[in-house]
Amino acid sequence: MTEYKMFEGCTIGNRIPFIETSTRKVFEKLGIETSEAPFTCCPDPTGFKSFDDEGWLAIGANNLCLAERENKDIISLCNGCTNTLRGVQYQLEHDSIKKEHINKELAKIGKEYKGTINVRHFVDVLRKDIGLEKIKSILTKSLDGLKVACHPGCHYMRPHEWMETDDDPMRPKILKELVAVTGATVVDYEEEALCCGSAVSNAYEEVGLQNLKRKMDSIKKAGADIIVVNCPACFQQFDTQQRNLKKEFGEDYDIPVLYLTELYALAMGENPDDLGMRYHRTRLRDIAPLGV
């Protein structure tokens, strides 16, 4: 089996590492092997890229060089990191002047970007390389009766030229398929393709909250028990901001958020305590099919 370089990213690595715990448990069961590399920040496609686009290219390329050195593909646990690393590759591949310029900078620190490795979002690896049958085979408990709203998030699928998922960038379905194998019921909701608003929240909190309200109203209307995501930034937005929605609008949502591998780990019979469920801000309680 291929060994990937693990790109857990700053948010998972240094803020919400419990997501990495469930991911590693699931990867181990599925035979997805990973190893570490001294990566820096990807850097953030919604933050640092806005600060200095050329620097974004150079830092991204510098990270890609680290994986190229070992001739291993990267597996990313974050939409933002995947978006940056794939976006950098796309731009350098399609613009020889940019590539030459960035390589001139990299040469000063003894590196060269070649474009020899691939960057994979873990959702893409699960769907294409592992497959639904194999995933089903590691799950020991059916989540029958659980109603799930799926939120794949913007940078998993857009812009489509960079991301090259098999998904429709405005009508995604792969996360739904990956959730449905657990026996849970995926509920459709109107605002599925709507951004979580994480980026704008950093600059304009009230705008971010208004946007999140629109999203959460739609999820609530669909009768979802939980939200499943595949990005740590979206996770944080949903998990930590629900209480602010209550403060701001008096609206009680209280819909817990699970990262896809957390859902799988629970369906593998893992103990919620070992998965760090206590670190979730929107607590999981009385959700019978999950056993928590």
Partner: protein, 170 residues
């Protein structure tokens, strides 16, 4: 209104293919599908409007963009929805990145953007490692995160003069 031809050229030359901006016929699919425009119309007098930004960029009306409330630039949440729905395949978000970069060069832009850039410059990570988090990782059976080569990383950034854009000591 003054047309800034230099600015117009920067927009057209941003990427190979950026000149397709001239095919914009102001259909407003970008703004109609923009989640931020949807909510700022109610909250702000001028709000965030990608269609208007593209029009001003195309015509070289630099002042219109940079003298407006900063939300005209920084309201963008980088969801890339406008890129997908544009019938002329204009890479709107890339043009908005150029606008944001120019805003930063003027020393403007949200505090968060500067703080994140500072953290990345100092530690190589947007969210630096902390002893408490390292202990939590260990208690959860997670491997240590390999430390990046910060010296080398800072050389790369210094060579590109990115350090000069930081608001050190502010």
């Amino acid at each position: 209104m003054v047309m800034d031809f230099e600015f117009r050229k920067q927009v057209m030359d941003y990427h190979q293919g950026s000149e397709v901006i001239k095919y914009c016929y102001q259909c407003s699919r970008c703004t109609d599908n923009c989640p931020v425009s949807f909510v700022t119309d109610e909250l702000y007098q001028f709000g965030y409007n990608p269609r208007r930004n593209i029009l001003n960029a195309l015509l070289g009306y630099k002042e219109n963009i940079f003298s407006a409330d900063p939300i005209a630039i920084w309201g963008c949440t980088v969801c890339d929805t406008c890129d997908e729905v544009c019938p002329q395949n204009i890479e709107l978000t890339e043009i908005f990145t150029l606008l944001k970069n120019q805003s930063i060069e003027k020393g403007e832009g949200p505090e968060f953007i500067f703080q994140q850039a500072q953290a990345i410059y100092e530690s190589g990570k947007a969210i630096p490692s902390q002893p408490a988090l390292e202990r939590r990782r260990e208690s959860m059976g997670l491997p240590e995160i390999m430390a990046p080569n910060v010296d080398e990383f800072q050389s790369l950034m210094n060579n590109m003069e990115i350090n000069k854009k930081l608001k050190v000591g502010d």
